[in-house]
Amino acid sequence: MLDQGATDAFVEFERVQKSYDGETLVVKDLNLSMPKGEFLTMLGPSGSGKTTCLMMLAGFETATHGEIKLDGKPINNIPPHKRGIGMVFQNYALFPHMTVAENLAFPLEVRGMGASEREGKVKRALDMVQMGAFGGRRPAQLSGGQQQRIALARALVFEPELVLMDEPLGALDKQLREHMQFEITRLAHDLGITTVYVTHDQTEALTMSDRVAVFDDGRIQQLAPPDELYEAPQNSFVAQFIGENNTLEGVVKELSGGIATIKLDGSEALIEAKAVNVEKAGDRTRVSIRPERVETNPDRLQDDAHTLDAEVLEFIYMGDIFRTRLKVAGNENFIVKTRNAPDVARMTPGQTVKIGWLPEDCRALDA
């Protein structure tokens, strides 16, 4: 999935820029290459440029600079209706004056397909999303989840090789959303479709995708498989945006063998962290540690590990885990998650504890 060789790239963005007003760039120097069959999610806060990228790929927006290629061919000058890309819209965009079956037959009719062949394909597409009995209904007579399925079926019925989805599950309730997440990924893999999925929901991005492109400020901050994104964020935006994260600020004192020794602000203590995004001693840095990688039991740490004193502010019992809020080096929102196991002590507010971690779990990122 990670093969980015130019020969088998199916979708390519090359140095793409987009500006709506000719002054500010909404998308800045975007480079992306997707192999066939990949499920790629564009994730980012609103205004990060992810939807603009999707719209440029669909042909509804034109790139100000750069080239977008589909299957090796530049598509900048091809109008949207000739690109043959399936699309699922945020609000489904089903045609309200047509029945479900007519909605699905529309792209086939446009392609000049005969009535009997059309009927067969529509039926298969409806069965695929378990909506076989609803062909005669109008969209207004369907629930949100059902409309979502029809929108999906309509985007797939003409067998496009590339399907774009623009926050398709945003309007559904949590349970339905989780179910549809599963169903969309299953369909995409079964049919071998290349999918570009846009969302601002990181859980959705992590559970569905082969790779996730994290957008911020018009750039891809990191493009990686979900596990890598969570465990090895390349900069502090990604660390902060994906999952729960603890941040401590400080100055790099020493840099050797890929390990940075850092003096934290608001404390005299020194800690060690994996140097990811720092260049030299004296740089300011943000240190990122996942709450579940913080160790509260000193026995389990290496003998020479640096430890910090922390004051317990809040202890929340969540069943399978304990969630503890600590004050560490001036940061009052330092979260520690511990498994509810017989040998793990429950902490009480006001108590002072020693915490530590393995240097490789702690990443020194840009300030």
Binding site: P80, P96, R111
Partner: protein, 284 residues
Amino acid sequence: MVTLPPYATTGQRIWFYAFRVICGLIFFFLIAPIVVIMPLSFNAENFFTFTPEMLSFDPDGYSLKHYRDFFGTSDWQQALRNSVSIAPVATLLSVSFGTLAAIGLSSEHVPFRRAIMAVLISPMIVPLIISAAGMYFFYSRIGLQGTYFGVVLAHAALGIPFVIITVTATLVGFDRSLTRASASLGADPVRTFFKVQMPLILPGVISGALFAFITSFDEVVVVLFVGSAGQKTLPWQMFIGLREQISPTILAVATMLVIISIALLTTVEILRRRSERLRGMSPG
């Protein structure tokens, strides 16, 4: 039916009934002049007032002579033919141009949208006599004054604002992502317009068409200026009838026009509701 709540004060009771009386009076004020011409059009005499025979419901007091007059006089028949040949063509032009203008003006990238919109709907706001005089001088220059096509164009210009306004109102509720969806499914812009956009804005187009038609059918000022004797329309003939002949035939014509208008309104409203149901706005 709204009823008074048991805790209503005397003041509220008085207002409750006064409000209904006022509404009734307004309704009467609007309808009475139209209702009163209907029985008068069956007057057996050449008068504009109720004769004693009519008031005593004597059958001899009533007749269809004014209707016969309308159908038997070549002036009236020519006027009817003129109206019927001008109004539909003017409506067709108004609807085509008005709909296109409304769609164009509702897309965000058109510069000076508000200014253009103001110019296009100005015929509705500028006093008719001024438009008429302006059109007269302009059309004379380019040889359209006194021609059938000139009157059609003038009426189309008067009808366009109505179409623009009704279609723009429908477009507000039109979801732009539908045209994008249509494009993503492979439909070119023309197909998208006829298969997706047009069916959905049809209620607005129909209402606009009705207004444009009535405008042309009712119009007397502009046609007096722009038309010549060859384009004498029904309202023009009625105007002459009032001024020169003082014949109750115009009452017969008026009655027929009222009935046609009601029939037209009803048909259009049924059509509009039907297409609104089709676009899934109200439960069907």
